[in-house]
Symmetry: C2
């Protein structure tokens, strides 16, 4: 029988996944942050990423629906509050819609999710299902890409402001806010995983969960690249830049 690794070793392995597999290494990301996407390509990114944003509170509610401890439910509830806000015009999804309008997209069209790539839906829906169905410690572990998010958000704010006309304090509000929110969330999630993943099987499970999550994020950028950069084959029904919805 293999022995469990220490919590520190587990954390080291989890952090290594970010270095190897996080979507900041994707070519689409490099183009975006280098200012080398045109307006339509940025719109496609914002539009597809909206679908991901819109499902985050559903994912977090699915997690809460499986938690028997009121204290853990209360803690995780804060994520839903961050994304849905406390009223109309508030919350992370709303801030993403402000970004969408800032890049010239129609709010109602974005919210309809009509032009989203099928591959985006498949990836995001697989994530919600993962959190609904897998062991709780794996569901929590799948949130740990937030370990890697602040760096990408900081870089994103700086590089978008440098390269794109649409970028300003208002449209960047989503990323600025996540810089405050993500660290408190991830501290809790990391402590939970360090504490609860005790057997070798559980530890492998949480490693696989974080790999699954990075795959899911990567697949979204792959789909964007193929549709809107190269070879640039936009699937039937998906958003076409420059064409009014």
């Amino acid at each position: 029988m293999s022995q469990p690794m220490s919590a520190d070793e587990l954390e080291r392995r989890l952090r290594a996944i970010g270095a190897e597999r996080y979507h900041d290494r994707h070519p689409f990301h490099t183009l975006l942050h280098g200012g080398r996407l045109d307006k339509g390509q940025v719109q496609a990114w914002v539009l597809n990423r909206y679908y991901y944003q819109s499902r985050i509170p559903m994912k977090d509610a699915a997690l809460i629906s499986r938690v028997e401890d009121p204290a853990l439910r209360r803690q995780w509830r804060g994520r839903i509050v961050d994304h849905d806000g406390c009223g109309p015009g508030d919350g992370g999804i709303e801030r993403w819609l402000v970004l969408a309008e800032g890049v010239g997209l129609d709010r109602a069209y974005v919210m309809s999710t009509a032009g989203v790539l099928a591959a985006t839906r498949f990836a995001v829906d697989a994530y919600v299902r993962f959190v609904r169905e897998r062991p709780l410690v794996e569901a929590v572990a799948s949130s740990l890409t937030e370990l890697f998010a602040p760096a990408i958000h900081r870089e994103r704010i700086a590089s978008l402001l440098e390269h794109y006309d649409f970028a300003n304090e208002k449209t960047m509000a989503y990323f600025n806010r996540r810089l405050e929110e993500a660290p408190k969330d991830v501290e809790f999630g990391l402590d939970y995983v360090r504490r609860e993943a005790r057997t070798p099987e559980q530890q492998q499970g949480v490693i696989d969960a974080l790999i699954f999550k990075t795959d899911m994020l990567w697949a979204q950028l792959d789909a964007l690249y193929a549709a809107y950069v190269e070879p640039g084959h936009i699937p039937p029904g998906a958003f076409v830049p420059g064409k009014d919805p």
Copy 2:
């Protein structure tokens, strides 16, 4: 093809379900409110009902996990806040535990749910599963027993205070608070069902959902009656009054 009924007619049918099937008509309820249960029987009720209380936020999170509209998610989130509270020592579940201690039960034993009847678990777990899996409008409709709850809570407060030593302002806090919370919740749920159940199939679905819910509540009192009143066959492993856990 049959025609859909009007929203008013649908509401009339839903309210009629309460008159016919709500658990205030159950003999166990009559004994409880008539002051004719002994201490151990009251304890069995509080202990088993704790299991139901403890699953309510999980049920509500399961519903939210299926909702695509942030406004509806925000509205429903209030139910989780009501039950889980905003910190340790707050919320409906905590108030139920205060009642449990007031009737002489050990808090840790209650929270362990170790002595809960298997029939209680089956009923409550079926409810959580129903909300997770059935069409959203049916999931919402299953909450509409709250139409009938304020009457039972008002009567409960009065009759428990009259008949039982354990009843006081502190132990009755759960019911007093629900008198404020349930009406605002049910107004929203009823409007939603009136608006969204449009086809004859959907309307039959919401009627069946509310019947399912009343069955689920009734089955819990059936199990309590059989185990602790008559014939009084306590299943192996279930709470035994007077015996320290």
